[in-house]
Structure formats: C-alpha cells, structure tokens
C-alpha cells in the first residue's frame, strides 16, 4: 500500500502525528495534510499552562518545524478546511475551491469549543481557549489590574484560572454545578482544587448560571447571572466543553455516534477512511464500551493505530487512557476512567498536597487521580491495564510502596 495517497483532514495533534508516523513507518506515497489554522501542528495543552504564562514560545509548541513537512513530502495546506467528501469518487472538496483525491482518508478534524447560547456571546473579550490564536488573544488581555471571569469549572477553566493568577489578574470562576470538575473528577478532588485555588486568590461562584454577557461599546464588562447578580470583569473565557467536528462525516454517510465510529484500527464504516483523535467515537476494550475522548494520549494512540494499519504493520498494543493537568505547583495525573466503580479509596492526605484517589471495581483498579503522586499514577496505570487484583488495606496505606499493593 506504500504508493497510496493519504489525505489527512485536520492538522492538530492527531493529524500532524499521523503524517509524521506514516513517514517514520516508511510510507512512500504522497501525503496531504489539511489544517484550518495558519500554522503547522502544535501542542495544545501548554496553551492554558506554560505558554499562557510566557514559559514556552511558538517554536517549542510546534510538533515539527515548518520545513519538516516539505522535506518529508507532506503537502501541508494551512488555513484550509474540507467542505465535503465524495466517497464514491474518493475526493475531498476544500474551502479554497480545490479538490484532493485520496486512496486513504484520515479524519482528524478534532472538536470545537462549545459556545454559550446567551445574549452578548459575540462581545469582544468573550473568548475560548482552543487554538494558539485564542491563547494569544487571552494573553494580550489578562494582566495586573484586570479581572478575568472564567465560565466553567472544568480542567481548562481551572488551568486558565491558575495562569491568570500567575499573570497578576483577578480571577472569578463561575460554575453551573454545585461543585468543580463535576463531570470529570471525584468530590475529593473538587474540594481539594477549590481550596487550593482559593488560597491563591481565585474566587468561585458555584451553582451559578451565566444568563448574559453585558458590555459597553461592543466590549464585555460583566457576566449577568441567572439570579440577577452582575459579576464585573474585563474579559471572559468560556470553558464549558467541546463538540466533535463530525458534520463532514455525517454528511457523507459514515456511521457516527458521539463522534465518528471507528474500530481498534481507527477505521470508520468505510474501509478507506480512518478517524482519529477528539472526533472519533472509539472502542475501549478495558471498559467494554465505546466513547469519545479529548486527550493528547488518545490522539497519539489512534494516530499510531491508523498509521500502522495503513502501512500494513501489526496493530500496536492497547494503551491505558490517561491525561494530566498542571495548576500552580500541582501536577494532576489521571489514568483510566471511573466506569462501573463500586468503591472509592483515598491514599494519602489531601492536606499534604500529595495524594491519590483510586476508583475500584471489586479488587481491580478502574481509574486513579493522582496529585503530585507519580508512583500512584504510574503503578495505578499499570494495574488498570493488567487487571491485577490489589489489596485494599495496603493500597490505602501510603507507607506501603505502590510496588507492594498488588495481591
């Protein structure tokens, strides 16, 4: 299959990695990489962390230098999106009016930030944090003497809050649910993060629904809550989740669910088309179900699956899903997902700033959330993958090494 033309729609972490891996694995045919943004593939996670605080520059964010693509025969088309796929003719229509033929197509179109359907959402200063351009705009807006309102107390919201404080801004986080990280973390973690942020000057409004953004001369000046209160601010970051960019797949009749349905090779219902990264609804054998993930490790794993399948190499071993978040001096590492959990076990003392929460099904680990606790994360991740039984009493005792918690 080495002479085939592989077209990749989307030049994020997934699409960029797939292009590079195809060359690494010896694919000789042409590769076209179509990206909506003006710059080559880059790492998004630092946008809310090191980059926002000025500790990383554009070059360090780039997955590969710009020259890499031409040097490796990858036709990189920046500032371009695909508008439709003709599966019969195997062509893709692009936003610049051109068409790209393909033998193999990879959908890596990612996800987009969900907008709040409330009045004032189009005011200047109401921002998202998804792209490098978003981050640039945010960095230019926040600083000493400014107040930043963050709508959404999820990981992006909390990372932006921490970075906003590091830049000297006042920060208020508005969360609709009664606790932070309600969809993605356990209550112990919610409580811990709230306290840690409050000690560093962040204000929280929980159970607070944003009803409108108010402004003057086209620029946001505050968030009106459903209870009538006005939270004055100079800028807003909306971090309330992301939706998959799967319309192009639906339009051409590929099977979709909460994203484009794929198998363990990242192949869609059309054998000539793969889907990887945030846009894919994928099987996760450890949990016996399918779901869509928004994480770099998932994008990388699926890029590997697709690239291996395309060049005819054996499928890579399955990986345990994981993700991380940096806030202040905290390193949060999460392995697995808390599906089918019947017990939650705390190891260590949250007050020490170093602890882990294990989510168990019987004596098996389903997921672990580790704060400044690499051994708990690393061993927890292995235990999720190898399904070994653990001794709960030993797991709950932080004086016993993580190497000795398996039965």
């Amino acid at each position: 299959m080495s002479g085939q033309h592989v077209a990749i729609l989307g030049a994020g972490h997934a699409g960029g990695t797939a292009a590079a891996l195809l060359r690494q694995y010896g694919h000789e045919g042409p590769i076209t990489l179509v990206g909506a943004e003006p710059i080559p593939p880059y790492q998004r996670p630092p946008l809310s962390k090191a980059w926002l605080k000025g500790e990383a520059d554009a070059d360090s964010l780039a997955l590969k230098p710009l020259e890499f693509y031409a040097e490796h025969g990858i036709d990189f088309r920046p500032s371009t999106t695909a508008t439709s796929i003709n599966r019969g003719a195997k062509t893709v229509a692009l936003s610049d009016g051109s068409n790209v033929d393909y033998d193999v197509l990879i959908l890596a179109t990612g996800a987009r930030a969900i907008a709040l359907p409330i009045p004032g959402a189009d005011l200047a200063g109401v921002m998202f944090l998804r792209t490098a351009a978003d981050a640039e705009q945010l960095k230019a807006t926040v600083g000493p003497g400014k107040t930043l309102a963050v709508v959404g107390g999820g990981y992006i919201g909390l990372e932006v809050a921490a970075s906003g404080r590091a830049l000297g801004a006042e920060v208020v986080v508005l969360e609709r649910e009664p606790r932070l990280l309600a969809r993605v973390a356990c209550e112990t973690l919610s409580t811990f993060f709230k306290g840690y942020h409050e000690q560093r000057g962040v204000t929280f409004e929980l159970g607070a629904t944003a009803a409108a953004f108010e402004g003057r001369d086209g620029r946001v000046t505050g968030v009106r809550l459903a209870d009538g209160r006005l939270i004055a601010c100079d800028a807003v970051v909306v971090g309330v989740g992301a939706a998959p960019n799967d319309e192009i797949a639906r339009d051409c009749g590929l099977e979709t669910a909460r994203g484009v349905v794929v198998d363990l090779e990242a192949r869609t219902s059309d054998p000539a088309i793969f889907a990887i990264g945030d846009v894919a609804h994928r099987p996760m054998p450890i949990y016996g179900r399918m779901f869509r993930m928004e994480s770099v490790p998932n994008a990388l794993e699926q890029a590997k699956q697709a690239a291996n399948a395309i060049v005819g190499r054996p499928a890579p071993a399955g990986e345990v899903p994981w993700q991380w978040s940096d806030q202040y001096d905290l390193k949060l590492q999460i392995a697995g997902y808390a599906f089918d959990v019947d017990e939650v076990l705390l190891r260590g003392d949250p007050a020490s700033g170093k602890f882990a929460v294990f989510h168990l099904q019987g004596d098996k680990v389903q997921s672990v959330e580790a704060i400044n606790a690499p051994p708990e994360f690393m061993m927890g991740k292995q235990l999720i993958g190898n399904r070994r039984a653990i001794d709960k009493a030993r797991l709950a005792d932080p004086t016993i090494s993580m190497k000795e918690v398996a039965v």
Partner: protein, 106 residues
C-alpha cells in the same frame, strides 16, 4: 549546539545537531526519530521519553529531579543510567552525547 547520537533499540543510529535550550527529547521528536514517544510533550508526566545515557555522559547530563526519579522508578526496563530525555537540557557541554532507546515506551 550539540551533536547527539540517538540509538534505536535495533541498533539504528541517528546523529543529529540539536540547538542549545531544547531538551534531548525535543531533539529527537522534532527530527522524527523513532523510539521516543514523549506523549506529554515534556511535562514530566508520562515517562515515554525514557533513554539510557552512555556511561561517559552520566555526570554531564546532571541530576534527576525528585519527580523524574519517581516517574522512572515505576517505568519499565529501568537501569541505573535511565533518564527521561525531556528533563535533559541541551548545551555545548553535551556535544557528542550518546543515548540509547528502550524497546518500547509503553
């Protein structure tokens, strides 16, 4: 600038000029060298940029931080000369450095 030789598990060698200030991991990844995955991009969060530093270079590559030590302690196939390559900053002093890759990062 330092010339760094990356040796894959199967013995394939790649000699690359890496700019000062980048990490040994970035030198490999930005040049598309197989064998260093670096899933987290250098946040010391994943231990998928594990390398073995040639004996002659162990002192010059510096000390491991507590976080790196702790991550490596639970990685697979770890030896005395194991390092996370995202935690080694490139300087002129590393010109000639040789690192070897493990069989797998996962």
């Amino acid at each position: 600038m330092a010339k760094i030789t990356y040796i894959e598990h199967d013995g394939t060698e790649h000699a690359i000029d890496v700019k000062n200030g980048l990490s040994v991991m970035e030198g490999a990844v930005k040049n598309n060298i197989p064998g260093i995955d670096a899933d987290c991009g250098g946040a010391c969060a994943c231990a998928t940029c594990h390398v073995y530093v040639d004996e002659a270079w162990r002192a010059k590559t510096g000390e491991k931080s507590a976080m790196e030590e702790s991550m490596l302690d639970f990685a697979e196939n770890v030896e005395d000369n194991s390092r996370l390559s995202c935690q080694i900053k490139v300087t002129d002093a590393l010109d000639g450095l040789v690192v070897r890759m493990p069989e797998s990062q996962h």
